[in-house]
């Protein structure tokens, strides 16, 4: 593996020289896995870069990249970099209104878009930007439906490549030179943080830091040629950039792009990646699907499944950690592996996984344990856009369910007095694009980055994230008590969200005497449950209001409360009352971030009436809500929500 | 001349038996759209039942009277045929309703095999005679007209009369009785039939029973002529070309078709056979039908088949 190359374009060329015929990128297209080897990628990047240059793309220009995970778009990233330009990947599901801000902020002139949908959006943005001379060049990858577009500056990917070839022929050494003059300290990418509050900020990361981050991961898990990864997460997300760009180019393994959003599961089953990355909700979704399907299985199968899973819960994780386990259990586990775990991994597409990572939000311990127990080496890491998603890693064999692992190579950790986690080291951001003020807020004099997360370091230096620093609140002191207990909403919400029936949860309790919660049911899971019980329902709102469903949820809440009651200092934060929301919390309604973190404050305001009802000890509450549909239309959903009292438990001194 | 006429009559006799079997086909096809390969098997089954019961009953019940034996045997056999019809409807047809014709056809093949097996394991697989007291000795007619005269077997004449009677009986049944009319309704249009509240299942049981009855009569006549044996169920296959010729949906067609083929067979055997090396009656009927199919698929009396898109 190449250690001298210090910019991404050079890494690419290094691989093209070292392993020209090894597969670099695969995409399922036209029913088979079309493959680019490293040489081909290098060639195409070169042509692409020359093409951009021929359009007048200058060093320092920014290239917006909008679309799903397509090989061409990944190549565009490197192409821009090899011209000393900066790729700016944007969320493809953002609506024009959101996108226009970043296009303007990053002074975008050149865009590479996936298809008609994105092009239409960008043209809309042109309008929104007024006659400002932005977005002069829009290159589209998939020409379908765009044939009769007359707008200026539109160009197909093929045409761009042709132009590139011509330019390359005219200036044979242009590309080589441009790559040669690249500086590791140059900004390699601008990633916009959707940010739980305020408008998005462009995080500038240099080649040096992202390569360091990538290398850290690659070395920790000994990744390299022969490994396969699924690239299915938004390119604009730091996670995908770390895994599908930085680690890809450092490690030189193979990217695999799914055929379409709906086929990801099948494609994953075919590829059987050896290296996998997904945010907790992906793993949650998979597990939900598993439990739903198992519930429909025949009784003997269910029995076997239950038995095997019980065994796995007991010894699976230890076996994976290499801890010592009795021979009998090992034998039984091997049997279970043949009968259940193996097949399960196979249908999940995880048979060949060596390393799987999750991050982006705290993962429910039980969820985490499930995957490890069936032999999927799932690990957590911790980081944020500002740190290339690279702060802590769980090392093989040292995986503790509750922590996100110890400081990654090249990273220093410090816990501030208020519990906030501070980070210094290779992967810390250069700056926020054109936002010195914001940069100053997060980067202090000693060069520590303020993560905004509250956490604790344990004896072995493993970091345990409790919550967002600003979310961590205190309960109002109950009569007689000096101070209220510490209240970590996410912590509780994640416990709730582990139940397949619960999709989202929002807890309130800061400066209040009790904790109350909003719950979102998982439509698919609960719908299934209802159908199996022959419980008729008309759509989401109706289902969410059914007394049977409320009972079901109350049950989950009670379990969580029991859990909390058993945990040091958490007993007082048991959920007193909850209600089941009449609509799904939705990024399009700004209730969630694009990465599906709940915007607690926003929700508290938006549904103030419900919050008051919860604390006002009402029995139910009527509510009306505006909703945005995919096609941009808006409508209103209304319902009368019942408020349910949850079972609570006396605090006990027992281990969780 | 005389010889020709004799052959002709012979042919008519055989043909008449074909018709008897063919009628069974037509009945079932009209009422249930099923092309009943099992008709032959039903004939064999019925004949076996008749033959054996008429032989066993006197032994069991200890009486001599041949007539009584035959009557009882006939009734018993008829009961069995009804039972068979009922079972077929219950176990096969009701479950295969609105499947394509081809799988129904194959189903009846299965039924045929089943009946053959059942019949022989119940009643044995030798050659049995049925003696319903048909006059055996032949008679001479028209000696005056030309010398040598005509040698006719009375038995055949009686058989012809019985057959004719059967046809008339069926005709009456279909024209006069309400069930008969119901059957015709079903034949014309299943939906219509159901809509006027006729339970298809019962209709089918009845039809198959009637077909069973026809089979029984045919079986008896065959049996008393040539004895009852397995080959019967093959001979019965001859009814297929007959209905093709006459048209699947027409009873008169079945009769005329039968006679045509009976006669054709005999004459061709006599006059063409020698040229071709003999034994051509095995296939004559089928090839005739085949040729017919190519020129007039709907047969002599059948309705035209139109494929709609």
């Amino acid at each position: 593996m190449d250690t001298t190359a210090n910019t991404f374009p050079r890494l690419l060329l290094a691989h093209a020289a070292r392993q020209p015929d090894a597969p670099a990128v695969r995409e399922k297209d036209l029913g088979i896995w079309q493959t680019w080897n490293w040489a081909a990628v290098a060639r195409e990047v070169r042509e692409l870069a020359c093409g951009l240059a021929s359009l007048g793309f200058r060093p320092g220009d920014n290239l917006a990249i909008v679309g799903a995970n397509r090989p061409h778009l990944y190549m565009a990233v490197i192409a821009a970099q090899s011209l000393h330009g900066v790729p700016v990947p944007l969320y493809q599901d953002a609506v024009a209104g959101e996108m226009v801000f970043m296009l303007e902020d990053a002074e975008i002139d050149f865009v590479i878009a996936e298809d008609q949908e994105q092009v239409d959006k960008l043209l809309e943005c042109r309008e929104l930007l007024g006659r400002a001379t932005r977005l002069r060049h829009i290159v589209y990858d998939d020409p379908r439906g765009l044939r009769n577009y007359e707008q200026p500056g539109l160009m197909s990917y093929e045409r761009l490549i042709e132009a590139g070839r011509a330019h390359d022929a005219a200036h044979p050494d242009f590309f080589a030179q441009s790559v040669a003059t690249g500086d590791p300290a140059d900004v390699a990418v601008i990633l916009y943080t959707s940010g739980t509050t305020g408008r998005p900020k462009g995080v500038c990361q240099t080649h040096a830091s992202f390569i360091a981050a990538g290398r850290g991961g690659v070395e920790t898990d000994r990744l390299g040629p022969g490994d396969n990864i699924m690239s299915y997460l938004p390119m604009a997300w730091v996670g995908d950039h770390l895994f599908s760009v930085a680690q890809w180019l450092v490690g030189g393994f193979t990217l695999n792009c799914p055929e379409s959003a709906e086929t990801v599961m099948n494609d994953m089953r075919e590829i059987g990646p050896s290296y996998y990355f997904g945010p907790p909700r992906t793993f949650e979704g998979l597990l939900t699907a598993v439990s739903i399907r198992m519930e429909d299985a025949a009784a003997p199968k269910r029995w076997l499944y239950a038995k095997c899973m019980a065994l796995a819960r007991r010894v699976g994780a230890d076996i994976l950690n290499g801890a010592k386990v009795g021979l009998m259990d090992r034998l039984l586990y091997a049997l279970g592996n043949l009968l259940i775990y193996g097949p399960l991994r196979n249908v999940l597409g995880m048979s060949r996984i060596r390393v799987a990572y999750t991050a982006g939000a705290a993962i429910g311990p039980d969820l985490f344990r499930f995957y490890r127990s069936i032999g999927v080496n799932l690990k957590q890491f911790y980081g944020q856009t500002e740190t290339c998603a690279y702060v802590c890693l769980q090392q093989d064999g040292k995986v503790k369910l509750q922590t996100v692992g110890s400081a990654a190579p090249g990273i220093e950790l410090k816990i501030a007095d208020d519990g906030e986690v501070l980070v210094r080291g290779v992967s810390v951001l250069k700056e926020y694009y054109k936002r010195p003020d914001a940069t100053a807020e997060v980067l202090d004099a000693e060069g520590y980055f303020h993560t905004g997360d509250a956490g604790v370091l344990d004896a072995e230096g493993h970091l345990r994230i409790i919550d967002r620093a600003k979310d961590v609140g205190r309960m109002a002191a109950a009569e007689g008590a000096a101070a209220g207990a510490m209240f970590a909403p996410n912590y509780i919400e994640n416990k709730l969200k582990f139940f397949p029936q619960i999709k989202e949860a929002v807890c309130f309790g800061h400066e209040r005497e009790e904790v109350c919660a909003f719950i979102n049911i998982d439509y698919e899971a609960v719908g299934n449950w209802a159908e199996r019980r022959g419980l008729p329902y008309g759509g989401y709102v109706d289902l969410a209001g059914k007394p049977e469903v409320l009972a079901l949820v109350a049950d989950c809440v009670a379990k969580v409360n029991a859990d909390l009651a058993a945990e040091e200092g958490m007993a007082d934060t048991q959920i007193a009352r909850f209600l089941v929301l009449h609509k799904e919390l939705d990024p399009d309604d700004d209730e969630l971030t694009r990465t599906r973190k709940v915007r607690r404050g926003f929700i508290a305001d938006k549904y103030a009436v419900l919050v008051d009802a919860l604390y006002g000890h009402k029995r139910d509450q009527y509510v009306e809500t505006q909703v945005k549909f995919e096609d941009g239309r808006t409508g209103v959903v209304s319902a009368t929500l019942t408020i349910v009292d949850a079972g609570r438990f006396p605090p006990m001194k027992a281990a969780a | 001349m005389g010889f020709f006429l004799e052959t002709l009559f012979g042919g008519l006799m055989v043909g008449m038996l074909y018709s008897l079997i063919a009628i069974g086909f037509v009945l079932i096809y009209k009422a249930s759209g099923v092309f009943n390969f099992a008709q032959g098997a039903m004939v064999l089954f019925a004949a076996l039942a008749m033959a054996r019961f008429s032989e066993w009953l006197p032994a069991w019940l200890g009486f001599e009277s041949l007539v009584l034996a035959n009557v009882l045997a006939f009734l018993l056999a008829m009961v069995m045929m009804i039972a068979v019809a009922w079972l077929i409807e219950r176990l096969a047809l009701s479950k295969l309703v609105n499947q394509e014709g081809i799988s129904l056809l194959m189903a009846t093949l299965g039924i045929a095999y089943f009946l053959d097996g059942l019949g022989q394991s119940l009643f044995g697989n030798d050659i049995y005679k049925i003696d319903v007291g048909m006059p055996k000795e032949p008679m001479m007619v028209l000696e005056s007209t030309f010398q040598g005269g005509l040698l006719l077997s009375r038995e055949d004449l009686v058989a012809a009369v019985i057959a004719a009677a059967l046809v008339v009986l069926l005709a009456l049944f279909f024209q006069k009785t309400s069930t008969g009319r119901a059957l015709r309704a079903v034949a014309d249009d299943h939906q219509a039939a159901q809509s006027i509240g006729i339970p298809l299942s019962r209709i089918w049981v009845i039809v198959w029973s009637v077909a069973g009855f026809a089979a029984l009569v045919a079986g008896i006549i065959w049996g008393s002529k040539l004895g009852v044996q397995f080959s019967l169920s093959l001979v019965a296959l001859k009814a297929l070309p007959v209905v093709i010729l006459g048209g699947l949906t027409s009873i008169p067609g079945a009769i005329i078709g039968g006679l045509l083929i009976g006669v054709g067979e005999k004459l061709s055997e006599i006059y063409l056979g020698p040229m071709l090396g003999g034994g051509i009656e095995i296939w004559f009927a089928y090839v005739l039908a085949l040729v017919f199919l190519l020129v007039r698929p709907q047969g002599l009396f059948g309705e035209k088949i139109i494929d709609r898109v």
């Binding site: 590829i271 429909d296 | 092309f35 096969a92 499947q99 056809l105 095999y113 089943f114 394991s121 093959l234």
Partner: protein, 354 residues
């Protein structure tokens, strides 16, 4: 349960379109062939060869041919026995009249003659369907039976069509012992099965199935009914013809038209129904089932210490066949093959039900 398909991705259409796209299946099939070619000949007894294996192989071949016609193209035929007969007698004629004619060529010529006759009797299928066609093919059955009985020229003037062959050899190797015969049949069967599979997954196969499923639509997209149907008859009767030749030459050695009478036709039809219409695999299942059932029926009572007359057991056989036909048509119209593939799906999805 035993499938591990992760990483078996296809990056070419050739790989994606192979007959057994899943590695585990390929391995299984390979093992199976090894056993069939190497192990069985070593261990099987003479009785096994003559009573079970050879009949099974040859009838599988015939069923395979019939399945192409009935299962894939939807044209029923009750004349299969006759087409086998054509194959057998034609091969016989080439064998005895042309001296030095290699065995394999005789067999194939037998197939070709069957093709010609098959197409001839297939012509009515252009005008008529289903039960009408059944009668047309019946005509073929009876006519051909008769022809070999009565037209001496066809049987090289041997009385009542009873002929016999001996001293077979193939490329200099003798085909005398049961094992040798078995290997000959097995090889031919495998080759034909492979070709048949190729056909049904190619353009022509799709034409057949199109005619079967929805002939009007098929015509509208430019499929010629004449070509589709007659080619099905041709291919089908070629394979059946070869099977017939093998039946005569290899299995019987001495035979007369009765060996290919209408019962044979029905038997083969039953095989494809029970085995599975429209499935190559099904032809094997069906043949195996129908070859084994009577043997089992004869043994069964013995195991329980009772004894039944052969007559009775043959009648029981009739009844069981009949009942099974109806059963399968009602319960699983796609026969054993479908049961097999559902089981396989279950295994692939294990532990999930769907």
């Amino acid at each position: 349960m035993f499938y591990r398909e992760n990483g078996q991705f296809k990056s070419t259409y050739r790989a994606d379109q192979q007959i057994f796209p899943i590695l585990q299946d390929r391995v299984l099939m390979l093992l199976f062939l090894v056993v069939a070619f190497a192990v069985v000949p070593a261990i099987a007894s003479d009785y096994w060869f003559r009573a079970i294996l050879i009949p099974f192989l040859i009838l599988s071949l015939a069923a395979l041919g019939l399945n192409i016609l009935v299962g894939y193209c939807g044209q029923i035929s009750l004349g299969t026995g006759a087409f086998m007969a054509v194959g057998a007698y034609a091969a016989y004629n080439f064998h005895v009249r042309v001296d030095g004619m290699p065995l394999i060529v005789s067999l194939l010529m037998g197939g070709l003659c069957a093709t010609v006759v098959g197409v001839l009797f297939g012509i009515p299928s252009l005008r008529i369907k289903g039960l009408y066609l059944a009668v047309a093919t019946l005509a073929a059955q009876f006519f051909i039976d008769w022809a070999f009985l009565r037209i001496n020229w066809l049987t090289n003037n041997s009385a009542s069509g009873s002929v016999s062959v001996a001293g077979l050899s193939l490329f200099g190797l003798p085909v005398e012992s049961a094992a040798q015969k078995y290997l000959l049949c097995l090889t031919l069967l495998v080759l034909f099965a492979l070709m048949a599979k190729n056909l049904v997954r190619s353009a022509i196969g799709r034409e057949w199935m199109a005619m079967r499923d929805m002939d009007v639509a098929a015509a509208v997209i430019g499929i010629r009914p004449v070509y589709a149907k007659l080619s099905a008859f041709a291919v089908s009767s070629f394979i059946v013809g070869v099977a017939g030749a093998l039946w005569g030459f290899v299995h019987l050695g001495t035979w007369e038209p009765a060996a290919f009478n209408i019962d044979r036709s029905f038997q083969l039809l039953f095989m494809v129904i029970i085995g599975g219409l429209g499935s190559i695999m099904g032809s094997f299942f069906g043949a195996a089932f129908i070859v084994l059932l009577p043997i089992v029926l004869n043994q069964l009572p013995g195991w329980f210490g009772l004894s039944i007359s052969t007559a009775l057991s043959s009648h029981l056989e009739f009844m069981i066949f009949g009942a099974l036909i109806v059963f399968f048509l009602v319960v699983e119209p796609h026969g054993l093959a479908r049961l097999w593939s559902t089981a396989k799906e279950k295994l692939r999805l294990w532990p999930f039900p769907y």
